[in-house]
């Protein structure tokens, strides 16, 4: 059972961490944009 938990755990943590990294990087890029431009609707 510990092998199964390790396999799913490492996958969940890695993908979750990557998602957080991408969302934070996108928020940072949007924050540095000049005012008056169209905002992202995604």
């Amino acid at each position: 059972m510990s092998y199964v938990i390790a396999a799913y755990g490492v996958t969940a943590l890695t993908l979750g961490g990557y998602a957080l990294y991408l969302l934070r990087a996108r928020a940072r890029e949007q924050k540095t944009r000049e005012p008056g431009q169209e905002t992202n609707n995604g």
């Binding site: 092998y3 799913y8 990557y18 991408l22 890029e29 000049e34 169209e38 992202n40």
Partner: protein, 237 residues
């Protein structure tokens, strides 16, 4: 300039919402999947290891196709999507290389074997890791992008080799043969399907988010490099 077009933006939002529901279904189906009579509970790694492999393949195919489109159309958006495909593909490939040895330790008794499938998988991972290094340390210009496009097109040839290497070596390696229709036991088809669907939707969400980030970064660089455009924006505001 928006990070994504309206269609891609809607697809990303929809895939994010769908992913939440799929994750619940995924956890439920894996927890309730039957225990394999030969391998025991460790066989449940099947519901994450092959879907990660398919995600890695898809990421590298996107890199090759978008690289070809960039060479043909000379449109940087395709080059930026190629980068997104490679990065998400490498993440999925890394997880495939990590989950495989965890499964191997529990069934073969050792973490690694220089089996043909494992060796070609490691080679595939190195090839696309080198692609990402090229993009990180290159000058970021058109010359690097063109070279990376050709590199991605050549590298994708490893995917059919990776998939069929077991048949090429006549099944003499330790890695099990590729899954075929009917090769899963009773009750194992649904968790495998849900696992594939969940990781496919997650893959789409990651690629679109990464593409958006790359587009936003490119727009920032363009504004920083063009004082006239910046001045026009300041006047407009």
């Amino acid at each position: 300039m928006n990070g994504l077009g309206p269609v891609a933006s809607k697809v990303r939002t929809a895939s994010g919402a769908l992913l939440g529901l799929l994750l619940i279904a995924y956890a439920w189906t894996v927890a309730n999947a039957p225990v394999d009579s030969v391998q025991g509970v460790i066989q449940k790694i099947l519901y994450v290891h092959p879907p990660l492999a398919y995600g890695a393949y898809l990421g590298f195919v996107i890199t090759a196709i978008c690289g070809a489109l960039y060479l043909w159309k000379d449109d940087e958006r395709w080059d930026r999507l190629a980068i997104a495909g490679a990065e998400v593909g490498v993440i999925f490939c890394t997880l495939m290389i990590v989950t495989g040895p965890i499964w191997a330790k529990g069934t073969w008794g050792k973490w690694w074997s220089w089996d043909p499938r494992l060796t070609v998988t490691l080679l595939l991972w190195f090839v696309y890791l080198a692609y990402l290094l090229l993009r990180s340390f290159g000058d970021g210009g058109a010359r690097t992008a063109r070279f990376a496009a050709v590199y991605g097109l050549v590298g994708v040839a490893l995917i059919p080799l990776n998939y069929f290497v077991i048949e090429i070596f006549g099944g003499r390696g330790m890695h099990p043969e590729n899954l075929e229709r009917g090769s899963l036991g009773d009750g194992m088809g649904l968790p495998f399907l849900v696992g594939n669907l969940t990781l496919f939707v997650a893959f789409c969400w990651f690629v679109l988010l990464r593409w958006e980030l790359e587009n936003l970064r490119a727009a920032s660089l363009l504004r920083a490099a063009d004082p006239l455009a910046r001045a026009r924006e300041e006047i407009a505001t």
